[in-house]
Symmetry: C2
DNA sequence: GGTTTAAATAAACGCCATTCATTTGTGGAG
DNA sequence: CTCCACAAATGAATGGCGTTTATTTAAACC
């Protein structure tokens, strides 16, 4: 055809993002392709490349949404809590549970690697920092007298550890250990920091 | 040609594995292809498929070698140590450092996902268990009076945490936190378990 | 020396990301 | 109202990939 003008560029982008998200959720990275996204929104591949520079460009947008979703979920689950130690435990469990609830999104976020030399997308990690800020603030409330530097170190170590459990849980690599109760595992990990 | 009989099947397999390893190390997963491996050993792709069922089959062998290398390195670095707490610290640092020293191998091992439904290869995780056994035994020496169940839980939580640091360090995702001294981070994580 | 048979090849299939010359509809100028 | 310029969209091409298969070729055996 050519020149339909049915949807604005911005609308097309949004349609493509939604279609890509659905495709990732249902088929995972293995079943994903630019062609499928294009045909899902009723356009050709060529047009998709006028909306996104390449596949990674689209992935980055999807990952932004994922990080935002994780952040909002954890914020919602913890903000009303008085007890900061409890908030940290809930946050950690929520993070891990997210990975299990959305394995394909998680995988796109954490196991897809950009080509070497590509800078880590700025926007993509703002929400990670926000989430991290939540944890650090809670940890500060638990240990008010700690100095900021060691608090930062502790918060980083804590969250790295939680991330580790999430990664292993999501990929079933803890099964050999006979431990399927990730909640207890997480609590034990968190405990060392409280 | 057809029927050269220059190398036995086993020799060809070994050549292919070595070539694949070199290719992964130098170009990473992105630059890897069965065709490149085949041409590196002077055979055609077709022949490669008589040696390995498919690409994943080859990857599994590579990952076995990686896990063995990690296990042997950490064993060598810790077995002479008297102090078990120190051994755990060294092991954790060694694990993380391995990921940084061999980013592409690490990536193949931990961020390549088999198609869903494929069982986690048995042989692949035997060495992971061996490594894990090392840690658990050391932890037991640190806390002789602990009951086995909670010891197992602790060892799993500890090593999951260490794995988390390794994953984030390897993919540069700790840079935003301003922490580049993974050693201190690791020590802090380990500290909660000692 | 001829025949069987295993080893290896070459070509094919269907997919992929990405690019680009070409077509087609639309909005504006006369 | 018509023509035209230009933006939107297409479709085909390029070069790569994993994997399969019919076919060829050389060695082994009788």
């Amino acid at each position: 055809m050519g020149r339909r003008n049915e949807h604005s560029r911005e609308e097309q982008r949004e349609m493509a993002i939604a279609a890509a998200e659905a495709l990732i959720v249902s088929e995972g990275m293995a079943g994903f392709s630019m062609r499928k996204v294009a045909s899902a929104i009723g356009y050709t591949v060529g047009q998709l490349y006028l909306l996104f520079r390449n596949q990674d460009d689209l992935f980055i947008v999807l990952n932004e949404r994922t990080t935002e979703e994780i952040y909002l979920e954890i914020k919602a689950a913890t903000q009303a809590l008085e007890d900061s130690a409890e908030a940290i435990r809930i946050a950690a469990r929520g993070y891990i549970e997210y990975g299990q609830r959305h394995p394909n999104r998680w995988q796109l976020l954490f196991s897809h690697r950009l080509p070497p030399g590509t800078p880590v997308p700025q926007a993509n990690w703002r929400q990670v920092q926000s989430l991290f800020g939540l944890i650090e603030a809670r940890l500060q409330q638990v240990r008010p007298q700690a100095d900021p530097a060691s608090l930062h170190l502790d918060a980083t170590a804590l969250w790295s550890g939680v991330h580790g459990v999430a990664v292993l849980a999501q990929s079933n690599k803890l099964s050999w250990s006979g431990l399927s109760d990730y909640g207890r595992l997480t609590d034990r990990l968190v405990q060392g920091f409280l």
